[in-house]
Amino acid sequence: MKTKLLTALLLGTSIIGTTGIALAEDVTLNIESWRGDDLTIWKDKLIPAFEAKNPGIKVVFAPSAPTEYDAALGAKLAAGSAGDLITCRPFDKSLELFKKGNLADISSLPGMDNFSPVAKAAWQTDDGKSSFCVPMASVIHGFIYNKDAFDKLGLKVPTTNEEFYAVLDKIKADGTYIPMAMGTKDLWEAATMGYQNIGPNYWKGEEGRQALIKGEQKLTDPQWVAPFKELAKWKPYLGDGFEAQTYPDSQNLFTLGRAAIYPAGSWEIGLFNTQAQFKMGAFPPPVQKAGDTCYISDHTDIGMGLNAASKHPEEAKKFLSWVASPDFATIYANALPGFFSLNSTPVKMADPLAQEFVSWRGKCKSTIRSTYQILSRGTPNLENETWVESANVINGTDTPEAAAKKLQTGLDSWYKPAK
């Protein structure tokens, strides 16, 4: 009796098991990500769009907390339980995964030619030969301004440095608004929104960045000191007590309408749209002389790669090709204004401010933050030092030349460019 029951049970389970397999011809792909904020966008917009076109493939977006992501992903990869698709941090963190063999080489993936070399640089080996993640989004630097304030004071959007300071002078003379909302307390504002924002116009974007990596240029060269010289001129236009002004302080000063210009990253757009009660506009970092080529920092931020141990590499590749397509770009960029698709095909966005930012790609040359690739691998860390020195220059505690010299000395102490 007992054996019969057991046999029946076993038989039953095996039948259920096989039917289960028979029904599950659908392949399920799991996405590892730290962007928990984007969960609804993936669930409601992106994944249904993909599944509609690719029957038989199910996609599950499974994010973990940003602070735990790297550690959790590492553990899962080691245990072999990580998802098929892996959201990639830019530069060294993903490069390390690729070197360990956790990420597959996807250089030949259909759709990768939709991206410019700059866009791919964040997820390539140092020699640029193999790519391991599809670029998803970037953030662009520029200045967001209070349109109402500009109209009231009769100001025109500045395009050159001279006009920029003329505008700042007028706002300061009028006195209603703080000319520029930026603080040096949190340090990174000064470096990211200041130095990396206006810098590419001086070091000519990619040209200067590459030359710095190759060791042909030094941070003490005039084109690298010039942005510091400009930052030093910003001091009188910042609010009272800017030395103790934090990043949220700056955001609030601007969205409350107390400041006229905000040196920005495009990621602010989403927040500013909900907080600010006035019309906003944006302009790219002003060039030195009218007619100069403009350069913008179009910094690569998120990508997606293929787990080398995935059981369904073909389906996962199909998904990645879709991520590389203009379709994905349109949905993604519109759902998250301020995070721009890196796709070469221009994406039409509904948000006017985001559209303004992305339109600069047409007329300006794109580059990424100068300190991110290769140059921040050693001690002292160039990125962190740039934060400190940018703040020092604005505070007036270091001259631009002294700051540049400190950075170069620090870099020289560990970085030996391949000759």
Binding site: G239, A244, D249, N381, N384
Partner: protein, 314 residues
């Protein structure tokens, strides 16, 4: 006489006192597991270096880097200097104020003593995060109450962005820390003052020693051992400090590393920050130096100061 002979007879027969070991075991095991082993783990970690993904024994190499390589040593000496200043402010401000408050509180004529005692002690039990954040807001030049309050009394011109200026930031933060922890010396001294027997005070009064003279000549010598304990607690606490600086100024301890103390320096080295990758071995080396500094300080106190303190038995 009788009892002594009895004791002599029973001594050889006394069983091994297992219960002592059994009762000590939980504390010893827990303390070993969470304090002693990690301490030796840290010491061991500081003697290795990660070369090509392998831990390689380098002897005192990491300490050589820490003191010899200007990229590390400049930061280290800066952090140590700042830490010493942090400690000096506490010794000069926190402890005297603590003693003063305790002396006032122990005065029998003071009304609402219990209220003051609680109010002054409350910040001590607040989280660093709350204290750091609250003071950042209070001192904020944009929204803070400090500029307005100073305006009321006509001192607005003395207000500046204290947390953002190199020359003031560390002192300002030290004073915030003093504000938070002044309750501890106050409580310890208060307890010491209460334990002075009334007979001593009465005798002093009979001899005509009253008021300030009584404090200086009678009470202060009697509470000196407590002051010693407070000094060493302050020393250990200050050289282990980290939280307040981290919450108020961030891991880079700006502006220009002017508020960098050993704790924040260790944090950056060990865990890394932003694009900087953490280096547990160098972090362990810094932690070892911190341990040695604190050990040295405590030894100096124990062998040179405490043995010379006169204690009075009542």
């Amino acid at each position: 006489m009788d009892t002594e002979t009895m004791a002599e007879e029973t001594r050889p027969k006394r069983p091994i006192r297992w219960h002592v070991g059994v009762f000590l075991a939980p504390a010893v095991l827990v303390y070993t597991a969470i304090m002693i082993l990690p301490l030796f783990g840290t010491l061991q970690l500081s003697l290795f270096r990660n070369i090509e993904q392998h831990q390689v024994f380098v002897g005192l190499g990491n300490f050589g880097t820490l003191f010899g390589d200007p990229n590390w040593s400049v930061n280290f000496w800066n952090a140590l200097r700042n830490n010493v200043w942090f400690f000096i402010i506490h010794m000069l401000v926190q402890n005297p104020i603590g003693i003063l408050l305790a002396a006032l509180l122990s005065s029998p004529r003071l009304r609402f003593a219990a209220f003051y005692r609680t109010a002054i002690f409350v910040p001590t039990i607040l989280s660093f995060v709350i204290v750091g954040f609250a003071w950042k807001l209070i001192l904020s030049p944009i929204w803070g109450v400090a500029p307005h309050l100073m305006d009321f009394v006509g001192l607005k011109s003395f207000f500046t962005a204290w947390l953002g200026k190199e020359q003031y930031a560390l002192t300002a933060l030290s004073l915030v820390s003093v504000w938070q922890f002044v309750g501890i010396p106050m409580m310890l001294i208060y307890a010491a003052l209460l334990s002075i027997p009334d007979e001593v005070i009465e005798a002093a009064e009979c001899d005509g020693v009253t008021g300030m003279a009584q404090f200086w000549k009678i009470k202060l010598p009697l509470i000196l051992p407590s002051i010693g304990i407070i000094s060493i607690l302050t020393f250990v606490g200050n050289f282990n400090a980290f939280d307040l600086i981290y919450t108020a100024q961030g891991a880079l301890a700006g502006p220009n590393y002017s508020t960098d103390i050993l704790g924040t320096f260790l944090y950056r080295a060990f865990f890394g920050f932003q694009l900087q990758v953490g280096d547990p071995n160098m972090g362990a080396a810094i932690a070892t130096i911190m341990f040695l500094i604190i050990l040295g300080g405590v030894c100096v106190y124990l062998f040179l100061v405490q043995t010379r303190l006169r204690r009075y038995q009542f």
